[in-house]
Every structure is written in C-alpha cells, then in structure tokens.
C-alpha cells in the first residue's frame, strides 16, 4: 500500500540531458569547476547549506532555507524536473545553483547560493545555470526572481532581463523576470564564460568529494553590543546579548 502511494507522490522526471562540466579561472587565479550533481551527492552538500540559514545578511537566511528545502525535495523525490549544479575550487564547495524545467520551452531558475564572496563565483555559477537552460535543454526563456539586492544587480541589471510580471514565479509567487534566448546570446562571451573540456585532474579532484567552504558567509558580528549597552537605558542590548549566549536567538 505504501509503495503504491509513493508512486503517486513521487513525480516522474522528464529526461534532461546532462550539463557538461566546465572550468573558469576566477579573480584569485584559482580554477573553478562547475558541474552537475545527482541525488547521490545531495547529502554531502546539505551540511554546508544548513548553517547559512542563520546568516541574517544579504538574505542568505531566506535563500539558504529555500535551497535546503529544494535540495532535500530533490533528494527525496518531491520536486519535478530539478537539476543542481555546484561550483568547486580544489574540491571546496563555492556555490550551489539549481532550477527546473517548467515546460519544454520555459525554465524556472530557483537559487544561486555563493559560499565564497568577492570573486564573482555566484555570477559564474548563475551563468552556467542559464547556459544549461538555453544551450543544453534548448529552452526559449528562463523565469527569474531575485531575493536580494545583490541578486537584482547581478541578474536583472547585468542581463537586462525582461519583465514577465503577469507570471507569478514559483519562489514566493512574486512577479517574474525573463531571460530570453536573445538576451542570453547577447551575454555570451561577456557574462557567460568558461572552457571545456575540464582537464582530467581538475575534474577528478572535484568529483572526488565535496569539501567544506573555507570562508562561508557568517552572521554580522555585534561588536558594539557591550559599548551600546553602556548608553542603552532600556538594557535591550544586554538582554539581546544574553539571549544570544543562551541560544534563544540566532547568531
């Protein structure tokens, strides 16, 4: 009986051709490999996404919580036609991006979660995701939203996305923006870069295992809590500081 119910609950994925891995030299001079991962590697990724749910900065908390749920749903067969790409430097997990095929012609971009910042790693990973929709899946457009101002600058402004405000996006039901094939073609060689094939040694290192991020985003430090408490007649800062020590609030 339970097996029959699982057949109903588990979506049947459409065939999706694989993303051919590529590599990019980032600003640090390091070689970053972007490759697709299957369900088997999701448990290796989740432990590095989870802590970011408590980073109340640049909407990392919202994005990480949603990515966690999307990866878990992918792993447990509760999301249809989803794919996940990872960006790695020497095996270190630097970014996770995901999306899904909404229809044959339209892609649904889900999230871009960068775990090392300041080197355009998230932007390279996002570009790879768009490449997958356009060049590999052969779709006509991808629906996109941004949850943070940084994402808005990276996607809506840099790619000059078109408004599709009549179409609610799967993330929060907010108005969608669209990357069309034409816009994507204009971004080739400027925003969408990378080389194939990936040298064997680089790819082998990436596939050998997903290593933890070396410098993941952290919650803002309340460096001034003690100072502020001196001038805070309500004692709010002290109470907040104590709550943090007691684990009653995040950070």
């Amino acid at each position: 009986m339970s097996v029959d119910l699982e057949k109903i609950l588990r979506p049947v994925d459409r065939p999706m051709p694989p993303f051919p891995p590529k590599h990019v030299t980032v600003a640090s001079g390091e070689e970053m490999v972007i490759r697709q991962v299957g369900r088997d590697e999701i448990p290796d990724i989740l432990p590095f996404v989870g802590p970011l749910m408590y980073v109340e900065r640049d909407f990392y908390d919202v994005v990480a919580a949603r990515v966690y749920s999307e990866l878990l749903a992918f792993y447990r067969h509760r999301m249809q036609d989803e794919y996940v790409l990872v960006a790695q430097i020497d095996g270190e997990l630097c970014a996770v991006v995901n999306g899904r095929m909404m229809t044959e012609d339209v892609g649904m971009s889900l999230h871009t979660l960068a775990m090392r910042r300041g080197l355009r790693i998230g932007a390279h990973a996002f570009a790879a995701k768009m490449e997958y929709h356009m060049d590999i899946l052969g779709q006509k457009e991808v629906l996109i939203v941004a949850e943070s101002p940084i994402g808005f600058r990276r996607w809506m402004i840099e790619y000059n996305l078109e408004k599709r405000f009549d179409v609610p996006h799967e993330l929060g039901g907010v108005p969608s923006w669209a990357l069309t094939k034409d816009l994507f073609d204009r971004a080739r060689d400027t925003l969408v870069v990378g080389r194939r094939p990936v040298p064997d040694d680089l790819l082998a290192k990436a596939e050998a295992g997903i290593l933890p991020p070396s410098d993941p985003p952290t919650p803002p430090e309340d460096l001034l809590a003690a100072t502020r408490s001196l001038y805070d007649p309500t004692g709010t800062a002290l109470v907040l500081s104590r709550w943090k020590q007691e684990g009653k609030v995040g950070g």
Partner: protein, 391 residues
Amino acid sequence: MRDVFVVGIGITSFTRLEYPLSEIAAYPAMAALKDAGLRRVDHVYVANMGGGRVNHQTGLASAVVDTLSLTPAGAETVENGPASGASAIKEGFLAVASGMHDVVLVTGAERMREVNNLEATDFVATLTHPLAEYIYGVTLPSLAGMFTRLYMDRYGVTERHLAMVAVKNQNNALLNEFAHLHQPITVEGILDSPEAMTNNPYVAEPLRFFDCCPVSDGGACVILASRERAEALGGPLVRLAGVGQATDTHCIHEREEPTDLLAVRSAAAQAFDRAGVAPSDVDVAELHDAFTILEIVESEEVGFFGKGEGHLALERGDTSLGGRLPINPSGGLKGRGHPVGATGVAQAHEIVLQLRGEAGERQVDGARVGFTCNFGGFGNNVVCLAFVRES
C-alpha cells in the same frame, strides 16, 4: 608652534556596519582612549562627509561627544570631502600646536552602505562642479577613467601596472584584520585569464572593477597631545611632525596640465618641509588609492619617484611589502576600504601602528618616518601628513 604627538589610536572593521553613524565614530574613539589611557580630552573633531545626506544625521560631533560621555569638551564636525579625515587631523594638530588645547580626539566615520552603490556613487559625485561636471553625469570613476587614459598615453602606464597595484594592495589587506576585502586576487585572474574580462569588467575604461575601491562603512580615531602630556602618558612617542594642505581648480578641465596633481605636490612639500624630512627619508606611506592609478601618480607627485616613473618603481617591487618603500601596507583604500570621512584618519592609524612596530605580519621593519596623502575631490583639496617616531 608646539610639538604634537599621537598618543592613542583605534579603528573599526571597514565593511558594512549595522550601527548608527554616531556609534561608528564612537567605537574607535573608545578604543583610542583606552589605547592612550585617557578618560577626558579637551576637544573632539569628527570627520565625516555624508552624514547629513546619506544617514540623515547632522550635528554629528555633538552626538559623538555625548555618546562618548566627553561633554563638556568642545566638538565640531569637519567636512572636506574624501579628505575630511586628514583635514580633521590638521585641525587637531593646530589646536594642540597653538597651545589652545593639550589633548584632542580626532575620529572619522562614514556609513555609506546605508544606501546602494549607485546612490553612494552619486553621493560622492556631489563634490564635483555642479554646473560644469555633475549635471553631465560625471562621477568619480568617470573622472578617474579619463585621467587614467591621459596618463597612460603620456607616461606609458598600462593596464598591467594598474592590475599590479590592485593585486599588491588587495593582498596586503589579507594581513589586515580590519580591512574590507579579504579575497586574494592575481594578475592571472583579473587580467590574463580567458575569463578576466568577466571577472574584472571595465567600470570606466581603462579602469576596471578591481581598479576601484569598495564602498565601505567604518571609523578610525587618533588622539593628539602636546609633548608634555604625551611624555606623561608614557606610551611610544610618534610625532605628527608635518602637515600640508593645498587646493587646485574645482574642475579638472581648467588645469593647465590635467595629469599634474599640483595640490598633491604642494601639500606634500609643505608636510615634508615642516617635518624637516625629505621624501627619501620615508620608510612607509599610505597614499589615497581610491583608484589604482592614483597610487602611481601620487607616489610621483609627493616626491618618492620622478614624474612618470611610479609605475617603474612598482615593476621593481619598490612599493611592495619588503620593498624599498612599501606603499599602502594596510591594503589602502583599494583593500582596506574607503569610508570617505574615515579614510584620512585610517591612513594615520596605519602609519602610527607601523612606527610603533605594532603592525604584525605587515610590519615594515625599522619604520621611523611615515607619510600619508589624503586626496579630496579629484585632487582639488589635498592634505598630507608626515610622522616621525621619536622613541
């Protein structure tokens, strides 16, 4: 005039700070008071450029002096664009040197990340000429881009030289726990690799993304005192030996030779003259590298290298840590960050740290003479400071 000494220093992280502007100014002041072993000062100068516009905070000095419980000390805000920090130090210097006060506190602060980058760029652009520049869309990056193109044509500076400055300073910032940028970069990654144009796109050609300083929040503080008070406090004796300030035309196009930064030249000469030292005596310098080209040009104008030879010194490694004259060991504006009102004070903070021998991994061995150049406008109001270690 009396001798003036730096008796206390403090700084915040340069990054995005989630605190009111007055607290960003107060925190480094508390650190500096602790560093000096002081509880009271005679006067407070607060350097800030955009509190009224960006943070809806005016009368900043009044807020800061009360936040620090330093009333009834006198207090005022000093605004001189991106040179506000060094200008405030100059005011403090004059107050002590003249004998009006014995101990003054100079703190600089800016909270620019309260607005987005576009608004922050626009805010800084308000220092340009309102009718001849600003209304045509001029920004500081665009001015710097035009300046760089001209400088390249005239003196043979290339994009590789600019990238070398960016790499040097951003990698110096890795050694500075208070710096904004903590990502190592390489010339390969930002100039030579097939993906370099994407990693490091043009912002205002020929200036690229990594040629420009980040938009930062942050604060820094120095406390100045007379010799008598400094000796009584018993700390290391670092003398603010020379101060110089000069101006140039508001509009760059009115300058006879746009690639000459005459205000830098004049301000530096004044500072060296008053300090009784020469450019060749300097062991370590902090120059205002809001754009990478500025470090090269300022290094020439202040007299470290001949005109048109700054990039050659860079090639030789003279300006790197371990070189003949390390420039911007803190990371400079490029790596440490550029909260405009705080920058001039942060430069002084770094030099004092170096002259005390307390700069850790980025310490310049045996540093005795230090120099700063704080560049306001696009070189139209410049303040230079020379420091000498006495003990």
